[in-house]
């Protein structure tokens, strides 16, 4: 099922433009993960810049990063749990796409956080589905047909089943990689490991590429052979934060409400902040 790397292959260190160009194709299922922390915003904007279309976007907490991709017309479908601008309000580009089909219609598949995390774990484990206690007493199974019931063969109990997620490409942001492409990540690590291991290809943007990964308490290391490409993108998580590097830019999240609220202001933002950067590394 997975073909991230042939045995013995290691991650290649590339530019962000090259990484997105090589790994993200029109029509792909793409997961950008990072749970409040280390959200790969720079990679998301590079996907917009390269004008990818018909993507199925996957993410726990689609926030500004996906509002931008959806508003730019990159996505055909969103598989998610909880969508919003955290602490601020709605995602207006997401709302416009669902309610008005602007700029293109957006199909949605909504899950719970536990359901999404279990889906990545199943995908990373090579299992077709995961079992959990969840969704019961909610309306989600009525709206989301990928949530099924499964009967425990021992107790007869009804439990929730969710299908494995195996994205074509998963993209995460991490603090550091070494020159061999081993990735080091610490702080809130969300489902980044599972998202990378479940994916056919992966791109990791990092704050810096270093000679040696100094151990950090609570670190998670993704070995080079589990990663397809690494790109050095300082500040690549902004406006989210990178523990040990920079704080969350809360003002940006607040400002996004007025930028994303209107089609015109969003188009201005796209032109000024994304497309004028065309060709930039």
């Amino acid at each position: 099922m997975r073909n991230a790397n042939e045995v013995g292959n290691v991650a290649e260190i590339v530019s962000l433009a090259e990484g997105v160009g090589r790994l993200v194709h029109d029509g792909d299922m793409v997961a950008l993960e990072g749970f409040t922390h280390l959200i790969p915003h720079a990679a998301g904007q590079e996907i917009i810049r390269q004008r990818r279309r018909d993507l199925t976007l996957v993410r726990m907490t689609p926030d500004i990063v996906y509002d931008q991709l959806i508003g730019a017309g990159c996505a055909r479908k969103l598989i998610f749990s909880w969508g919003g601008n955290p602490g601020v309000g709605s995602l207006h580009r997401f709302r416009d796409a669902v309610q008005n089909g602007h700029p293109v219609p957006l199909e949605i598949e909504e899950h719970s956080h536990a359901g999404m995390a279990n889906r990545y774990v199943a995908g990373a484990s090579g299992l077709p589905f995961a079992v959990l206690r969840g969704y019961s007493g909610t309306d989600l199974p009525r709206h989301t047909d990928t949530i099924k019931q499964i009967t425990c063969p021992f107790t007869g109990e009804q439990l929730a089943a969710v299908p494995a997620l195996n994205p074509d490409v998963s993209i995460i942001h991490a603090q550091r990689a070494d020159r061999a492409g081993n990735v080091q990540i610490w702080g809130l690590v969300g489902v980044q490991k599972e998202a990378v291991l479940a994916a056919r290809r992966s791109l990791v943007t990092v704050e810096e590429v270093v000679d040696e990964l100094e151990p950090v308490p609570g670190q998670l290391v993704l070995p080079s052979w589990a990663v397809t490409c690494v790109a050095e993108v300082p500040h690549g998580a902004h406006p989210s934060y990178a523990q040990g590097y920079y704080e969350r830019d809360n003002a940006y999240y607040e400002k996004w409400d007025s930028i994303g609220r209107k089609r015109d202001s969003f188009e201005d933002w796209l032109r000024e902040k994304v497309f004028t950067m065309e060709g930039a590394k």
Binding site: P128, F129, V131, I150, C152, F154
Partner: protein
């Protein structure tokens, strides 16, 4: 809420009742809570179901007639392939067994830890594990793939016993060796969780000897802490000490020969933990 959870081995073992299911952490002949196992040997409890990546813990409990069933991925002494007591009990059919693949064993504990009745796994498919475990079932994917997987039933534990290197009195416990094994999973799957350690230390000093991630157990998953120096003997508790290979060979030789076993049991297992450690010291000195 009790914050000082220190207790003696005999106090925690007194909580056992006949017929209970107990989990024993460690792995083969490595970081086994042997002092707690020896306390079980001294207690009147019987008919236990023992859940273990087994080593001499299983052998000693079988030798003492404490065991009705063993749930295991393997039982080995590492440098000696088989535990003689366990091997003999299996051959004679004097104990019931649930033999799992190691991955299935972990799935059974994971299911219990997540309070799920079962978990699906690929492990065991196409093997005789399904034939020798008629109680195992399969489960079919409810999606288009329709794939059939092994359903592993949750292995809940009444009590978990584990041995680590350090703990504070509140039950935050630390391993300083290379491998956590599945000790955290054993504790998450159990109703009562008892950890023995080489040394009880202040909370603030826990991170002086090892990094934050060596704090394997937190106090919410531990009910009692037993300070038990050399409590893993004769299995490993690196870096505090390695396996006592000479003693393990002696155990295995005596276990192999029913004629010699009473001599071993009388010398090492008839008294309390202090008497055991004293005899071990004498045994070591005899070889010098």
């Amino acid at each position: 809420m009790r914050t000082d959870k220190t207790a003696t081995a005999d106090e925690v073992v007194a909580e056992l009742a006949d017929g209970m299911t107990i989990g024993i952490g460690g792995w083969g002949s490595r970081r086994k809570p042997m002092a707690l196992v020896r306390a079980i040997l001294r207690s009147p409890v019987r008919d236990l179901t023992v859940v273990s990546y087994g080593g001499p813990d299983v052998g000693l409990l079988v030798a003492a007639g404490k065991v009705r069933r063993v749930v295991f991925g393997f039982v080995t002494l590492d440098t000696i392939p088989y535990d003689p007591w366990f091997g003999r009990a299996r051959q004679e059919g004097s104990i019931e067994v649930t033999e799992y693949d190691e991955g299935m064993f972990a799935a059974a504990l994971s299911a219990a830890a997540q309070r799920l009745p079962f978990l699906p796994t690929r492990a065991g498919l196409g093997s005789d594990v399904l034939r020798v475990n008629p109680r195992l079932r399969t489960v079919r994917s409810p999606y288009a793939d329709g794939e059939e997987l092994v359903a592993v039933p949750a292995q809940r534990l009444d009590v978990a016993f584990v041995h680590l290197n350090r703990a504070d009195p509140h039950g935050n416990a630390q391993y300083l060796g290379p491998d956590p094994y599945f000790d955290d999973l054993f504790c998450l799957a159990a109703t009562r969780r008892f950890v023995s350690v080489e040394k009880v230390v202040d909370t603030a000093t826990l991170t002086e000897e090892g990094p934050v991630q060596s704090l394997l157990l937190n106090r919410s998953t531990v009910d009692a802490v037993v300070e038990s120096p050399h409590g893993a003997h004769f299995t490993t508790a690196v870096p505090d000490y390695g396996r006592d290979e000479r003693f393990q060979r002696h155990y295995a030789e005596c276990a192999k020969d029913p004629g010699r076993w009473p001599e071993f049991a009388d010398r090492f297992l008839a008294g309390d933990e202090k008497a055991y450690q004293h005899e071990v010291t004498r045994f070591t000195e005899e070889s010098r």
